[in-house]
Amino acid sequence: MAPQPLGSLKGFAVTFRQIFKKPITQQYPEFKRPVYPRFRGRHRLWRHENGLEKCVGCSLCAAACPADCIRVVADENTATNRVSAGERYARIYEINLSRCIFCGYCEIACPFDAITLGNDFELSEYARDDQIYTKDMLLAEPIKRVPVADGLLYDTPIPYYRTDS
């Protein structure tokens, strides 16, 4: 290649031109980038329409978890205390999100569609203990809602992904 001393000047044109373009960075806390439907964020537990929990405490999610960050302690439903639709329910359901690797295996493993990974990605806390999500936190609606890019892209077999996540 012959030496091209003026080739060095091309770079100046490249950098100069960018001044007139709109920056690509986004103003994060004000603008939250919409996530795609398949995005795997913070977990959620679900209820049936009648208010009963979908989770039956089978621990399959805990068995599937490569990071061992799910703990389920099941108990029997009784006539006076009916929590889930099945025979048993999860008395304790906890996820340590600081250990979670968001692989989504729990969601795949759950035969009752009781646990899904939602859209929340703002998961930082000040204390490690705050990263341990209990059942109540997982059942509640997420506080910080993240917009979804395009609802038409939903195609996952878990039905209420489309409407609710």
């Binding site: 030496p3 060095s8 399959l60 968001f102 295996y105 996952t156 878990i158």
Partner: protein
């Protein structure tokens, strides 16, 4: 022709030192007061990752070098032995966190080779597409950071502009921007989502222009040429003796690419060129990667064309002992539910045997040696990281280098410490 017919003579004789990975202080300087020993790393702005180079400096010249690694050793291989095959798939991409897709591919292919599992057409092409996107991603991160180390700070942002598009595509398909676990034994975890092809096509159209822009910025810049040409020399013979692969090997004039010479997936059915440069210096390694970005874009384009014709085809093999049953069957078929429980809790079993599978990752040959005892867990997993081997060449490349070259040379070898230390 696998090897370039005329191997270039970059320098006479072998420059590999007595201990191949250590540059020892010359005897004349051993007792001298003029030698300054400096630690480059483990915390240093130029080592992205935690590499520690113990460098002996004589003025600005590097006269001794010893690379210390292991700061991010996380015991992936040991951990994978304790997980089922299915779960271990999530570990593989985290080893080389920039070429996650290639890592996932190599591990999944090792499982499939032991199982003798056929791969559906759609999965083959989709894997190829994602791996090539991943190669572009990895090269972009390399280019951005390597240029940053040489002081060309703007390149970083331009590269990350395109990188973000790739991550977006990855999120669209797999649900996660990195470490996707999208490749499963037998195929893909999910079907290709609607809307992916047009998005990906848009990226394919913009990428060549972006590469042009990177080249405009540095390719003919005199300072860039001065900082990269004729530095970090590695002759073809030395490169082979040191086990170099990928862009480092191709930058030394050896025409070798596993995608073409030992084709896996469907690489024998796409058209692409293997860039080879002959001077074995930092500049040539940079050129190889730039050209590879263009070629990868071409492969992605060809994959897209194929995939668009495969709409509605299966994306994973139909083998109920290995592959999770379709989700809708869980509520209707008892047998499916039993298989589901079995695979999730106990994991599928893989026949006894040992295999070594290699793919061309962005950094070179990424190998996975797997031993199975027939049980649900791997007996032994060993990853052959291309970065690990590339780092072995530092001492040879560093003969007659200055401190500033040290940065350029280590950068040009493109090491990812996660892969080195595993």
């Amino acid at each position: 022709m696998a090897i370039a017919p005329e191997r270039p003579e970059i320098y006479a004789g072998s420059r590999i030192p007595r201990i191949p990975t250590v540059l020892e202080l010359p005897a004349a300087l051993r007792d001298s007061d003029d030698v300054l020993q400096v630690n480059f790393g483990p915390n240093h702005p130029s080592t992205h990752g935690v590499l520690r180079l113990v460098v002996d400096l004589h003025g600005e010249t590097v006269v001794g070098l010893n690379a210390k690694v292991g700061y991010v050793h996380t015991g992936f291989e040991k951990n994978m032995e304790a997980k089922t095959w299915w779960k271990a798939i999530t570990y593989a991409p985290r080893i080389d966190y920039l070429a996650y897709q290639a890592n996932e591919l190599v591990f999944v292919q090792a499982i499939e080779k032991l199982l003798g599992l056929p791969l559906p057409e759609k999965a083959t092409w989709m894997r190829m597409l994602l791996c090539e996107l991943n190669r572009i991603h990895s090269h972009l991160v390399w280019l951005g950071t390597a240029a940053l180390e040489l002081g060309a700070i703007s390149m970083f942002w331009y590269c990350f502009r395109e990188r973000d598009q790739i991550l977006d595509l990855s999120e669209l398909v797999t649900g996660y921007r990195m470490h996707t676990r999208y490749f499963q034994a037998g195929g893909l975890a999910e079907d290709v989502p609607p809307g992916f092809y047009p998005e990906c096509r848009r990226f394919v159209e913009t990428m060549p222009g972006a590469v042009d822009q990177y080249e405009d910025l540095v390719d003919r810049n005199q300072i860039w040429l001065k900082r990269t040409k004729g530095l970090g020399l590695l002759s073809a013979d030395d490169a082979i003796a040191l086990g170099q692969t990928g862009p480092v090997l191709r930058g030394s004039g050896v025409d070798w690419d596993l995608r073409r010479d030992d084709p896996y997936l469907a690489y024998d059915r796409v058209d692409f060129a293997v860039p080879v440069y002959e001077n074995g210096d930092v500049y040539d390694r940079y050129r190889v990667r730039m050209d590879e970005m263009r070629e990868s874009t071409r492969i992605v384009e060809q994959c897209l064309r194929r995939l668009e014709r495969l709409d509605g085809e299966p994306w994973i093999a139909d083998d109920r002992k290995v592959v999770l049953p379709p989700r809708e069957e869980l509520h209707t078929s008892m047998e499916s539910l039993i298989h589901h429980f079995k695979i999730v809790t106990e994991g599928y079993r893989v026949p006894e045997g040992e295999v070594y599978v290699a793919v061309e990752s962005p950094r070179g040959e990424l190998g996975c040696y797997v031993v199975s005892d027939g049980g649900p867990r791997p007996w032994r997993v060993k990853f052959r990281g291309a970065s690990f081997v590339a780092l072995e060449a530092t001492a040879t490349c560093m003969v007659d280098a200055y401190i500033a070259d040290l940065i350029a040379i280590v950068g040009s070898l493109d090491t990812v410490m996660g892969e080195v230390d595993r």
